[in-house]
Amino acid sequence: MEPIVIAKNLTKSYTKGLRALDNVSLKVNRGKVLVVMGPSGSGKSTLIRTFNGLEAFDNGELNILGIKIDSTHDERKIQKIRRRVGMVFQQFNLFPHLSILENITLAPIHVQKRRQIEAEEYGMYLLSQMGIDSHAKKYPSQLSGGEQQRVAIARALALKPELLLFDEPTSALDPERVNEVLDAMRRLAEQGMTMVVVTHEISFAKDVSDQVLFMDSGKVIETSPPNIFFSNARHERSRKFLNQLDKH
């Protein structure tokens, strides 16, 4: 079992006294899918954003793909990590002034220094995998939310990452668009991609994840396999949270 993410006692406060991350430890092995759940403000985004250095932390240690970072936030190491880790955001964050294909080839051309033709070929392959290759020449604003999010996934895949991070990838979508994105993520998991996914989609967590990590107030409350978490969560707080999710 090769560990891809090891977090040890991560702690972070934005404002003094209020811990967005409180002694968080976890491990994700290669090919595994970790789903992160928890109420709003519990620190889910903060946690996965530390994994690619978008967020610095105050204490603890991170080992991503064998690259160790700590509170000093070493830019060179973080740059190395970012070349091997992809991220998908709630608001897609596509580059509006670039075409769909340009969005995808940007990093391969300017970070990996690949030839444009080569990058475009692989970009088209990724778009066809996501079922949106017919939109390659369009601009993000011309696409639906679900299509934009699939472009964002293709963009994150363009650097051939070994770890994918998703921060509520379906929360900004119309309900009828959610499944096209979840299906794309399912296929990635089946192909053996290591993923950390912040989501409230119970069906996705049940079917795809290997572990569910539940957070509250910056702390890890429990980490359990989905069948246990959803039927027989160990902690009172987890059960309360699941009850509230069910009501929606």
């Binding site: 690619n52 250095g53 978008l54 740059q79 970012r82 070349r83 880790v85 992809g86 991220m87 955001f89 608001q91 964050n93 596509l94 580059f95 509006p96 002034h97 075409s99 940007l106 990093a107 300017h110 970070v111 601009y139 993000p140 604003s141 011309q142 963009r155 994150a156 650097l159």
Partner: protein
């Protein structure tokens, strides 16, 4: 506001406007009669009989007033365009530093912006002229590889000569304007959503590349109008040339008024010259703006 109220207000404004115009024209006529000069431009073609230290085209004191004015206009254009280009570069760099991640650079640029914006331009020009250039010794002060000389006469760079007046004015305007441009750039950069920064960073793009390829193109629509108004200010501020003795259009106009007493005609010429300059700037910026909008195929 009700419609008839609006009409009434506009009517009132019209009356005030035309009233003021009437008073102005009346004064003008009385003054013209008093000076006994009448209103004409034929003097423009008489010899100017004053020397100009700085002339991008051939000029002698036997050339006409019209030619002297044209030289002044060119001198103005020269100092405006060079300061405009330099201020844009410098302002962009400082704006980047101000918004960047490096906190020391951010602090330095914030200090620069504050100091420059809170001192009068006239004072800054005097400083550059008297402290910066006239302070240098008159024998050659710095000489590098026989192509670069600095003295209190100015700078000579492989045959091109820049007078200390031109340099002081150009440096002063550049520094003054760059502080304002830095703020315009910063405003533009801040108008781009945080998600765009996160997206390029998570793709492994460096801060510099991300700024240039992702942030700046999206910030431009917010930057261009502010930039245009800073360029127009620069053009107007360039008339402070007279303080350091640089022969711009305003300074030459001033000399001619003293010599000929043709204040009204000169005033009109100055007005038209600046109208032309500002139209040049506004239209160029408008074209640039349109090119950018055209290249943005998204809405």
């Amino acid at each position: 506001m009700k419609i008839n109220q609006k009409v009434f207000l506009q009517f009132g404004i019209c009356i005030i406007f035309f009233g003021l115009m009437g008073i102005l024209i009346n004064n003008l006529t009385i003054n013209l009669i008093r000076t006994g000069l009448g209103f004409n431009f034929s003097w423009l073609f008489k010899p100017a009989s004053f020397a100009l230290a700085e002339h991008p085209l051939p000029y002698t004191s036997s050339d006409s007033y019209a030619w002297a004015l044209f030289i002044g206009w060119l001198n103005s254009l020269k100092v405006i365009v060079s300061s405009l280009i330099l201020a844009t570069f410098l302002g962009t760099l400082i704006g980047f530093a101000r918004t960047g991640k490096n906190s020391l650079l951010g602090l330095i640029s914030a200090g620069y912006i504050t100091i420059v914006r809170q001192t009068p331009l006239l004072l800054q020009l005097m400083f550059w002229y008297f402290v910066g250039f006239l302070g240098l010794k008159d024998n050659i002060f710095i000489q590098i590889k026989n192509i670069f000389y600095v003295s209190n006469q100015g700078i000579e760079f492989s045959g091109l000569i820049f007078s200390s007046e031109f340099l002081a004015l150009s440096l002063g305007l550049t520094i003054f304007t760059s502080a304002y441009i830095a703020e315009v750039i910063r405003g533009g950069i801040l108008s781009v959503s945080r998600g765009q920064w996160e997206a390029f960073r998570s793709l492994g793009l460096s801060e510099k590349k991300g700024l240039i390829r992702i942030i700046l193109p999206q910030a431009l629509p917010a930057i261009i109008p502010g930039l245009t108004s800073q360029y127009l200010n620069l053009a107007k501020n360039s008339t402070l040339a007279i303080a350091v003795g640089y022969s711009d259009i305003y300074a030459i106009n001033d000399t001619i008024i003293n010599q000929t007493g043709r204040a009204i005609e000169c005033f009109i010429i100055l007005l038209v010259s600046f109208l032309l300059l500002n139209l040049l700037i506004t239209n160029t910026m408008e074209i640039i703006n349109r090119l950018i909008l055209k290249s943005r195929k998204y809405s």
